[in-house]
Amino acid sequence: VNTETAPGERESSDVNQYEYSGIQERHGFIPKWLWAVYGAMGLWMVYYLVVYWTDKG
């Protein structure tokens, strides 16, 4: 298994090996753009619930 980091990927030594399946996984991280998506979706959720909780006709 190739554990070299890809271009733009953070260096990480915390690779976990699953012995019987041969699968490896990095502990990894959450990219900044996904944090932005989480934040935007959270704000939108609050807005939509407040505005559209009842039918205003």
Binding site: Y18, Y20, G22, E25, M41, W53
Partner: protein
């Protein structure tokens, strides 16, 4: 299967015979159920096609297609892959392996009888929950038995950590034990009126979101790092993806009934939950593509990788379509149009059928100890599937938007149907293309087990990480 050396390696923890028999059963259902879909699509072009035979009418055959894809094609493959993935992730054989052999026969017999009963007019009347009660009893028992097998195997595991595949699989089985009972034993016999419709919305989306989705994700999380020959990109993203799915999906179902008499606030909650599914979908998509970035060579070399990655693309597109489709403005435009059919096919076929197919490309050569029978057949399978399905998804999406716009502009409903005729013809041609691809692919699997060139090394030895045994090519 009979040509396979079924004497298992002592060190092997996977029951090869059961897995291969399940996957070859799935290969049959993967051809059968889509073929019924093609026959149904022809009825759009020629309204009288097979219309004089009661058991081949639209109303009788559509449930065969829907139930055949969900429980025949997808679920049969998932059960087979469960019996492969769980022991390998736990480091021990499946709990009560003898049950698996009984389940193999009980499952296929029940499924065949249930699918035959639908054209004969037996139907519970719950969409995606249409099997008659006598067939639902063995199916429910099977789900309970497999759930026990999975959970006990996980509890007794030798592997210290529980990989993300096991989270999704155990959750999918537990959720489905309850949801299957809910949809088949409670819903058809209680809660009349609009409450039943609301609960049906939950049931049908639990089939999609709490069975097909987590079971499918379990498959790609298992096979993607192996196919890429790379570590999974991020355990943290796996956590976010799993828990956000588990949190938001239970509220999604009522979005089937926007603008209905169901309380407004419940519709709003369903819309919000549908949109919030962007979080798990984009998260796991990042995890999948992050695993592959910089190592696209494996995409050329491995049919497992090809089907997984293309399926992940359709997953991203189909789920975004589904989330936005729940918004009131989009519902107004697309409800009762083929846009909805585009969405269901993008997710169920474009994503999850492709992912289990990828799993079959990985497992069948390894467990049979044989090389893939024909690279050419695999190539045809891949391209006919991808091109046929891309055409089908595009044309259904386009015609849905077109039909919705016509109706919004006040067009007569019949005229909107007439305008769809050329698109329906293209849809049928696309379906035939996909079906030919499926026949070639499944024949390739069957021939691999029967006549594939033997791989040097112990049959069924699967040690890709250790690299002790030669790996089959193109998988």
């Amino acid at each position: 299967v009979s040509s396979v050396d079924t004497a298992r390696e002592r060190s092997d923890i996977v029951d090869r015979e059961v897995v291969l028999r399940f996957l070859l059963s799935a290969a049959f259902w993967l051809v059968f159920a889509p073929t019924i879909g093609v026959i149904l699509s022809i009825k759009f072009n020629y309204f009288d096609f097979l219309g004089n035979i009661p058991w081949l009418t639209w109303g009788r055959l559509r449930p065969v297609h829907v139930m055949g894809v969900i429980f025949g094609a997808f679920t049969t493959a998932i059960i087979g892959l469960t019996y492969y993935m769980v022991p390998r992730l736990c480091g021990i054989p499946m709990y009560k392996e003898g049950w698996s052999r009984a389940i193999l026969w009980l499952w296929n017999i029940s499924l065949t009888a249930a699918l035959l009963s639908l054209p004969l007019g037996q139907n519970l009347g719950i969409e995606a929950g249409e099997f008659p009660t006598w067939a639902n009893i063995p199916v429910e028992i099977i789900f309970i038995l497999i759930t026990i097998q999975v959970l006990v195997t996980i509890i007794r595991r030798k592997e210290k950590k529980i990989y993300v595949t096991l989270w999704y699989l155990s959750a999918a089985y537990v959720w489905t034990v309850f949801n299957y009972a809910f949809g088949h034993f409670l819903l058809p016999f209680s809660m009349p009126g609009v409450n039943n419709a609301a609960m049906h919305g939950l049931y049908i989306h639990y089939v999609v979101g709490l069975w097909i989705t987590p079971a499918g994700l379990a498959v790609i999380y298992y096979f993607l790092p192996l196919a890429a020959q790379r570590p999974l990109y991020s355990h943290k993203l796996s956590l976010v993806g799993f828990w956000s799915l588990a949190f938001f999906y239970p509220f999604v179902g009522t979005h089937h009934y926007i603008y209905s008499p169901i309380p407004y606030w419940t519709q709003t909650v369903a819309i919000v939950a549908s949109m919030m599914l962007i979080i798990p979908v984009w998260t796991v998509t990042q995890n999948f593509y992050g695993t592959f970035v910089g190592h696209w060579k494996r995409f050329q070399e491995s049919y497992t990788a090809k089907f997984l990655i293309v399926g992940a693309l359709f997953y991203f597109l189909g789920c975004f379509q589904g989330s936005t489709e729940a918004l009131r403005g989009m519902q107004k435009l697309t409800h009762f149009t083929d846009f909805v059919i585009a969405h269901s096919h993008l997710t169920v076929f474009g994503t999850f059928i492709l992912w289990v197919t990828a799993g079959m490309y990985y497992v069948i050569p390894r467990l049979s100890g044989r090389e893939l029978y024909s690279k050419n057949l695999a190539q045809w399978h891949y391209w006919l599937t991808v091109l046929g399905f891309s055409l089908m998804a595009s044309v259904l999406t386009l015609q849905g938007l077109l039909q919705g716009t016509m109706l919004e502009m006040g067009a007569d409903f019949v005229n909107s149907m007439v305008a769809m005729k050329p698109y329906w013809l293209i849809r049928t041609l696309a379906g035939v293309t996909m079906d030919i691809g499926a026949v070639l692919g499944m024949w390739n699997f069957y021939q691999t087990v029967m006549q594939g060139r033997k791989i040097e090394g112990p049959a069924g030895s699967v040690a890709p990480a250790a690299g002790r045994y030669p790996e089959p090519q193109w998988t």
